[in-house]
Amino acid sequence: MASEVRQSEQTDDTAGVTHGTSAAGAIHVRNLTKVFDTDEGTETVFEDVSFDIEPGSFVTLIGRSGSGKSTMLNIISGVLEPTEGRVEFEATQDGDVTLGHVFQSPRLLPWNTCVENIEYVHEANPDYTRELAEEYLDLVGLSNHYDKYPSQLSGGQRQRVGITRALSIDPEILVMDEPFSNLDEITAESLREELIEIWQKLGKTVFFVTHDITEAIELSDRILMLGNGEIFDDMSIDLDRPRDVDSEEFLKVRQDAINRFHAIK
């Protein structure tokens, strides 16, 4: 169902980004350091951070506000340059890696309909058709809203369009920056369930950022905890899917995660 053409968001001239040929969707973070210049001198956000993300896995980065998780996400998605180190992606056979971005707010063009908002990001795709946009909107249950404007949708529906837009370019990697934190809990919960269904169906690598431990456990294969300038814990979540947040096993894992998260001040 997805288009064959990829947009080259990550270009070869971006410093610190290289392309391999196997295991498309894998991310290798190598010795990343980020230092910001401030008025009072320099501030190191994190230093010499390395980790690998398996293709097709759902990995969540959690950290307190100010821990640098947004900085990490921005470096991985190519918005920020690292001070040192590199991010490597393993590309598909045509040598491209595509990242689909989902933001905290949906960031839709208010003057464009749902279909037009999806069409907007297909500038470099000669095979784009309206049907493609409609198929993706169907995927998130927006079949009756193709030609509605964002102002005519609920907050949850808008974020669904945001997710759909990112998926529609058929990225190997989906980068999600606290996408559910602005939604009410009931809407957020149903979006989490939908996201997992879609992820299982389409098999993308997901790099997800949140400060919500419960959300992280519900969604992820693996949780990376960022704090004090390092990844201080790397936790695998082996619960069966779909996950019941009220089950005993879930609560046990959650308590374990909370203890490990609070191990660092």
Partner: protein
């Protein structure tokens, strides 16, 4: 984005009744006030609505109106275009960086404080009689208003939408056409509307000094010959044409551009 509507909540609004009725009432009240003034002040000296309409019909029938109307429209339009490009450029500069803002602010404050009539006098001294003086006077008087509006419009562009576009590798031309332009469209409309309205006022003032043709020139000429109804008729005919322009061009265009707005509010301002 300045697309917020400042309308009152619905219950209070609906008591104000149908918008056409409201508009009609305001026109009728305006005409009544005008008529009242002619009754209070010495009869025959100040022409009322009916005398003005009669004089307007005569004016239209004589055919002389079109050459002067054309002259005034042409110069108003040229002056406005000049103001729009200079004002727009400064406004964009103010919107996108600090240097632009600090560079443009004194120019705009000074330009705003010089009366239009002074510019008319200055440009007549510099350029003499003809087309250039009123056009330049109009352009320099109007550009600061345009700058201020465009500045706010550019400032209101949502930076997160620009970042979103970058994340998806959108080209600069597509960004400009699909994101920047629709974003500043409300400011552009206000700039055009105010700009044209002020341009016409300055242009007709400037004609008094700097021209021997045009609506302003003819109105003041009629006034100096004590033909007050003719003077009023020149103004009235122009007002009707501007009104038709608003209803036939600006409004439909606006309706099309802002179709995406949930609660459409197509007020005059």
């Amino acid at each position: 984005m300045s697309t917020r509507t400042r309308s009152l909540p619905t219950p209070l609004r609906s008591t104000l009744g149908d918008k056409w009725a409201a508009a009609l009432i305001s026109v009728v009240l305006g005409l009544a006030a005008w008529w009242l003034v002619t009754v209070i002040f010495p009869r025959g000296l100040f022409p009322g609505p009916i005398e003005t309409v009669n004089a307007s019909v005569e004016l239209l029938a004589s055919g002389i109106v079109w050459t002067h109307m054309e002259a005034t429209f042409f110069r108003t339009f040229l002056g406005f275009i000049g103001a729009f490009f200079v004002g727009g450029a400064l406004g964009v500069a103010m919107g996108i960086n600090n240097f632009g803002e600090h560079f443009s602010t004194p120019i705009i404050i000074i330009a705003l404080s010089v009366p239009g009539i002074a510019w008319a006098a200055i440009t007549t001294i510099i350029f003499g009689f003809g087309v250039v003086a009123p056009v330049v006077a109009t352009a320099v008087t109007v550009f600061p208003y345009i700058s201020l509006r465009i500045w706010k419009g550019v400032e209101d562009i949502d930076p997160t939408l620009i970042r979103m576009s970058r994340s998806f590798g959108i080209s600069k031309t597509r960004l400009l056409r699909r994101m920047i332009l629709p974003s500043i469209a409300p400011a552009l409309f206000t700039a055009v509307r105010f700009g044209l309205a002020i341009s016409w006022k300055i242009e007709t003032q400037a004609e008094i000094f700097a021209s021997n043709s045009g609506v302003g020139y003819r109105a003041i000429e009629a006034f100096s010959r004590y033909q007050y109804d003719t003077a009023m008729a020149w103004a009235a005919v122009f007002v009707v044409i501007v009104f038709l322009l608003e209803m036939a061009v600006l409004r439909p265009l606006e309706r099309k551009v802002f179709a995406y707005r949930k609660e459409a509010d197509f007020g005059v301002l």
